[in-house]
Amino acid sequence: MPEALEATTKDATAPESVPAAPPAEKDARARSLWSDAWHDLRRNPLFLVSAVLIVVLLAMAVAPWLFTSADPRHADLAKHYLQKPNWSHFFAEDWFGYDIQGRSIYARVIYGARASIAVAVGVTALVTILGTLVGMLAGYFGGLLDTILSRITDVFFGVPFILGAMVVLTSFEERKLWVVILSLAFLGWTQIARVARGSVITIKQADYVVAAKALGASTSRILLRHILPNAMAPVIVVATIALGGYISAEATLSFLGIGLAEPTVSWGVDISSGQEQLRNAAFVLIIPSVMVSITVLAFIMLGDAVRNALDPKLR
């Protein structure tokens, strides 16, 4: 098993680093914003650690069978949760012990990555699209449209996030993955919208936008070719950090008993069933909680590192 893990880590890292690397340039002045940022990032240990972690986590979500041969749903009551972790059995079925139904916690933690990461990635994708759209329209056109869109943003911002998500989710009989994704996205897009709006307002005064207008470019061309690519930097940073936040939100909702539910395997589901046995078998709760914390940390660190690399003021 350890060999398999290492192999996937390396395989998965390689393609990621190739397209992002800039062509070897001697002239530092010619570097664009992103290649300049990449130049900084490659030397930042926080970025490297978080990137490796994220690649491993994504590999877990895509191909969990590479990490364990155990079945996360196979319950062997004889093994019961009293069977404690065997910390020296690396990557073995009993590495993290067994839960109350005698299911391998190691297998469940590996397979749980998929649901938790799918929720976070799905919500982040929807929120980024919706938020950027609203923010771009409000920021570029201004006036009455801006007033209306900004007030709508304020309205959604005023409803507490976890509370709102709970209210929406309780109204569904069956809380499938897409239900959780849509509910969180429904309430979560405001932050991106505000960031995108601010960014677009700054950029629309730039000379190249004025030049494009003077040359008679259509509004849609200005928005898509000039404004959007240049306004995305802060949006991507906020979205990366928010992705970590949604992992945490999914787990919190499950902790409250309102997130995903069995038979879905997710960290949140295991956390919510683990809390009942906190006093006798704390590891059942702690291990998925640690996974959630590490994942959130990886995304927040990544976002933070990218932000620092993009913002010359912080150098």
Binding site: I152, V159, P160, G164, M166, T170, A251, S289, V296
Partner: protein, 307 residues
């Protein structure tokens, strides 16, 4: 100043209406309060119809909302499904959560700003880097994890504090829950004040103050800190609302019967009047806190004047 406040109050009206209507819509249109009243049993159609009529649930949604808002402004938040007045529940729950939030804010402000100043003045040094990484770690640990962990270690294992809070919820019992509630925000406050201090420390007015021969602590507290606090104050203002709403996890772990507890019960049982009533108050708290923050700007930065 007066005109600015009035303009801001007027701007709050559409947001208040929108947010409350949104929550009203989510509770009454997405869920079915009458079905919830009967639990798992299917309600008798005639009874259900009568209850719907009594609660105005047979009217269109916008009319229900208007009737509800009309009642609220006469101080009537309706009756929870167990027969208790929602205002009674509020009178019992809000003081508890207010105390908890207060403890959390005090911890957040004192520790967060202190750490931020220390870190910002030593920008780039090992202490600064260490604190920055530590804040990231704290931000990534979900509240229920840190809550359970601290409760288990301090309350159960070492027995320093009582693991759960009594029904009076005295201030000294609320210190540990307050820390748990504050942790994530504390890390944000540290980071925000650190960045702000690190930026301002090179400002001309700081150099002038040092050149005048003012003592170091005076330069830091009177010149540097006052000018660096604006982003921190903005954050804390927005945080008051989310802390009160976010207390739902903390209150559950430490068995505190505050706003979070009532909302949790209300949402699980689809107890519509409780949920809408409590969230309405939370929205008002959120809006007023943001207004107060804007007014504080003028106090902190003399360059900002509201006409």
């Amino acid at each position: 100043m007066g005109r600015y406040v009035i303009r801001r109050l007027l701007q709050m009206i559409p947001v208040f209406i929108g947010s409350t209507f949104l929550i009203f819509f989510m509770v009454y249109a997405l869920g079915d309060p009458v079905a919830a009243l009967f639990g798992d049993k299917a309600p008798d159609p005639a009874t259900a119809a009568r209850i719907r009529k009594d609660l105005h649930l047979d009217q269109p949604l916008w009319k229900q909302y208007l009737l509800y808002m009309g009642a609220i402004f006469q101080g009537d938040f309706g009756t929870a499904f167990n027969g208790q007045k929602v205002t009674e529940l509020m009178a019992a729950a809000f003081p508890v959560t207010l105390r908890l939030t207060l403890v959390a804010i005090v911890i957040e402000v004192i520790i967060g700003i202190t750490l931020g100043v220390i870190s910002g003045l030593r920008r780039g040094r090992p202490l600064d880097t260490g604190l920055l990484v530590l804040t990231l770690v704290v931000i990534s640990v979900p509240t229920f994890v840190s809550g359970y962990l601290l409760q288990f270690l301090l309350g159960v294992k070492w027995g320093w504090v009582r693991p759960s809070v009594s029904s009076d919820a005295r201030l000294d019992e609320l210190i540990l829950p307050g820390i748990v509630l504050a942790l994530v925000s504390l890390a944000y406050v540290t980071r925000l004040s650190r960045t702000s201090i690190a930026e301002n420390v090179r400002a001309d007015y700081v150099r002038t103050a040092i050149a005048k021969g003012l003592p170091r602590h005076r330069v830091i507290t009177r010149h540097l800190l006052r000018n660096s606090l604006i982003p921190v104050v903005t954050f804390i203002g927005a945080d008051i609302g989310s802390l009160m709403g976010g207390a739902i996890v903390t209150e559950r772990i430490f068995n505190i019967h505050g706003v979070g507890y009532q909302l949790y019960q209300g949402i699980l049982r689809n107890n519509a009047p409780t949920v809408v009533g409590f969230v309405t108050i939370l929205v008002i708290v959120f809006l007023v806190a943001n207004l107060l923050v804007d007014l504080l700007y003028a106090v902190l930065d003399p360059r900002i004047r509201y006409a």
